[in-house]
């Protein structure tokens, strides 16, 4: 059992929780994730480790399906049954020179820990974050503190630059030399954004988010094609060379359980509406 030490809603349907998990916190590094299972009947889902403080780790997630909705309803003092981690290879942090760390939507969650590590390694760090609208933007203040410069974009112009993070990145690339970039967000956003860095020859990492089961390399559910070879994102990644990744395949495989996911959340919402009585979110 792992204690939820703090919960907070950051934006529309976006939540952050701090979990006490010393075995994860002790060796967690930028770019790694954990697997969480709320209770005996729960699914194991991967969430990026967004920050570490002592024995605790922070995860930030969007309530989009059954498990994330369930997690969003937990309160401080509640517990989750299982937390495994840290999993995956850490980000390849080196003194590159100038690094851009780019987050889209809830993918922004992964950015602070990478930005902080890149900064510690002596890089000049440019943060670029974006969301559909300003109500969905998260971690702006925190990142403004970590990054040497922070740019914000929204699809509808309600905050920062009107446009996509890829547009902001392109403008930045035309003005200055960037040596390395991290792009984390929805698969389509990662695909488009890494197309921007390619002509500039910028070494670019993306953090892939295929469907996972164990997260330890024993099932192959998370297989992705990178440079034409099959890799397991949970152990060989989740970060890969963006310019080698087959994004279309990733997107196709992410859709494997659409029907089941839909029925799971519908059933959960109906069920919890009828019997949860006082729950604030139900």
């Amino acid at each position: 059992m792992y204690l939820i030490e703090e919960t907070k809603q950051l934006a529309d349907r976006v939540f952050q929780i701090w979990i006490r998990a010393p075995h994860v916190a002790r060796h967690a590094k930028a770019g790694q994730f954990l697997m969480i299972r709320v209770a005996e009947t729960g699914e194991r889902i991967p969430l990026t480790i967004s920050a570490v403080d002592g024995d605790s780790v922070r995860v930030i997630f969007m309530a989009i399906g059954k498990t994330t909705t369930w997690l969003s309803r937990l309160a401080t003092g509640d517990t989750v049954l299982d937390v495994a981690g840290p999993l995956g290879r850490p980000s390849e942090i080196k003194p590159y020179g100038t690094c851009a760390v780019i987050g889209g939507g809830v993918g922004i969650a992964s950015i602070p820990i990478i930005a902080a590590a890149a900064k510690r390694a002596g890089n000049y760090v440019i943060g670029i974050i974006g969301a559909r609208n300003s109500a969905l933007l998260i971690l702006e203040e925190e990142l403004a503190g970590t990054c040497d410069e922070l740019h914000v974009a929204t699809d509808d112009g309600s905050g920062g630059t009107h446009g996509f993070v890829s547009d902001v990145l392109k403008t930045a690339l035309q003005k200055q030399k960037i040596d390395c970039a991290w792009v984390v967000g929805p698969a389509m956003m990662m695909k488009v954004t890494s197309m921007v860095t390619k002509p500039f020859g910028v070494k670019t990492f993306v953090s892939l988010n295929p469907i996972m089961v164990d997260g330890t390399g024993m099932c192959g559910s998370c297989r992705v094609l990178v440079g034409g070879t099959t890799r397991f994102a949970c152990v060989d990644g989740p970060e890969f060379d963006a310019h080698q990744v087959d994004f279309d395949l990733l997107i196709q495989r992410q859709r494997s359980y659409l029907n089941e996911e839909k029925s799971a959340i519908e059933e959960y919402l109906v069920h919890t509406c009828q019997c949860s009585g006082g729950s604030p979110h139900a």
Partner: protein, 450 residues
């Protein structure tokens, strides 16, 4: 006792074989000839004193029988159910020449189940030695190694990356062959010996190599859980599973009970399984229970199937179709599986292990309609941890090389089970772990740590 009829059992995950009653067990035990030079014992990888325990059963001394088995085998309820007895003890039984061999497996299982029903009394532990040993992985090798070490007074921490201990016993072998409460009971017995099990700990990540080598000794028992893919076009389609993923979703995550359990699975209406081992049989029979019509494609002949014979027979009874001498070459579909193209194979030569080598027949391709494809063509040792250990000698299949006592090329590091042998069997994993545990114990005594 009679097995549950196929018509009934394909609708649930309850055990197929209900086991022997006391009277049946005693009657079966009385068939044993009590050979002076028992070939069954020679056929047993851990040399259980089979005639002695069978004789105890014959005289209704079930507790005595249990004690005899447990001297050599810590997990008899499991081995009685899953060991390939036909090629081990029962295969060597003299009675088998003219008649049926003594059902050693069924007797072993009977004794273990009887003992469990009585309530388990943990054996005495030696006084604490003050030595600390880390065991990595909680499959049969890790469980057995941990138990042997704990009994000798060492402090044992057993790390497991999944949320529950048992390894393949839990996530691989389905409950209709091995009910999960039996695995849990065996794990509980090992915890009762004082072994501390830390789940959700992936060694190499949650526990670093440095942490690991802070122990006085380490037993690596991480198994061979890395699924191989065939490498044919279409393997990335939705509806293509490794047997490991398919079985894990059902056995560990209970996807068969979706949506009561959250993990989904594609059930498929027509399923093609590729492979011929226990893993392939299990995947096929789970798919049957999820409501599919299943075809198993195997590249050699029926008599070459490496799976336990009894399980092949049961798979057939449950309606699994077999296509022998055939191999998949392409999985068809746009984004989801719609069919599988196979070719006929001829078996022409023999390889180094005297196994027939199949090769494709030109122009023989045919297509099976399918909406699910499950590859069960083998697994290798998970390289995650071992590739990070400096100086570790590795064998052909990525396994860790060990001497007969389980010593690796790295000081104080031992290995046992599938990680050392490549994918093998439960009993070999346990046997290897026991030897390694004894060698660790000797090493600790000699080095004066004790």
């Amino acid at each position: 006792m009679l097995e549950r009829p196929p018509r009934e059992r394909i609708h649930d995950f309850e055990e197929v074989d209900p086991g022997l009653s006391q009277e049946e067990a005693v009657a079966e035990a009385m068939r044993c000839l009590q050979c002076k030079k028992p070939s069954c014992v020679a056929g047993c990888p851990v040399s259980v004193a089979i005639p002695s325990f069978v004789s105890a059963v014959a005289s209704w001394d079930f507790a005595g029988a249990a004690a005899i088995i447990k001297e050599e085998n810590m997990l008899p309820a499991i081995c009685g159910r899953v060991c390939p007895q036909e090629s081990q003890c029962e295969g060597a039984c003299i009675l088998g020449v003219k008649d049926l061999p003594v059902k050693v497996g069924a007797l072993e299982r009977f004794v273990a189940d009887w003992e469990r029903a009585q309530g388990f009394v943990p054996p005495a532990r030696s006084q604490s030695t003050g030595c600390r040993v880390a065991v990595v992985g909680s499959g049969p090798a890790g469980l057995c190694g941990a138990a042997e070490l704990a009994r000798r007074g060492h402090t044992v921490i057993l790390y497991e990356s999944l949320h529950a201990p048992g390894g393949v016993l839990l996530y691989g072998i389905p409950s209709f062959r091995l009910p999960k409460d039996i695995v849990q009971a065996e794990v509980a017995q090992i915890e009762a010996l004082g072994v501390e099990i830390r789940t959700n700990h992936l060694v190499g990540r949650s526990v670093t190599l440095e942490d690991l080598f802070a122990f006085d000794a380490v037993l690596l028992a991480t198994g061979a859980g890395l699924p191989y893919f065939i490498g044919i076009p279409g393997e990335q389609l939705a509806g293509v599973y490794s047997a490991n993923e398919f079985l894990t979703r059902v056995n560990l995550m209970r996807a068969d009970r979706f949506p009561a359990y959250d993990t989904p699975i594609r059930r498929g209406s027509r399923v093609v399984v590729a492979g011929g081992g226990n893993v392939a049989m299990d995947a096929a029979r789970v798919a049957v229970r999820l409501g599919a019509s299943v075809t198993l494609v195997y590249r050699r002949n029926e008599e070459d199937l490496p799976a336990r014979r009894a399980e092949v027979v049961r798979a057939k009874e449950e309606g699994v179709n077999f296509e022998f001498c055939a191999a998949p070459v392409r999985i068809l579909g746009e984004s989801e599986v719609t069919g599988v193209t196979c070719v006929r194979m001829v078996v022409c030569a023999q390889d180094g292990n005297m196994r027939p080598v199949p090769s494709p027949v030109e122009g023989s391709s045919f297509t099976l309609d399918a909406d699910l494809f499950i590859g069960a063509i083998g697994q290798g040792p998970n390289p995650l941890l071992i590739r990070e250990i400096p100086g570790i000698a590795r064998g052909e299949v990525g396994n860790v090389e060990v001497d007969p006592d389980g010593r690796t090329s790295v000081s104080r590091l031992f290995a046992a089970g599938d990680v050392a042998t490549g994918a093998a069997t439960v009993i070999l994993a346990m046997g290897g772990a026991k030897k390694a545990a004894l060698a660790i114990d000797q090493m600790l005594i000699r080095s004066g740590s004790v």
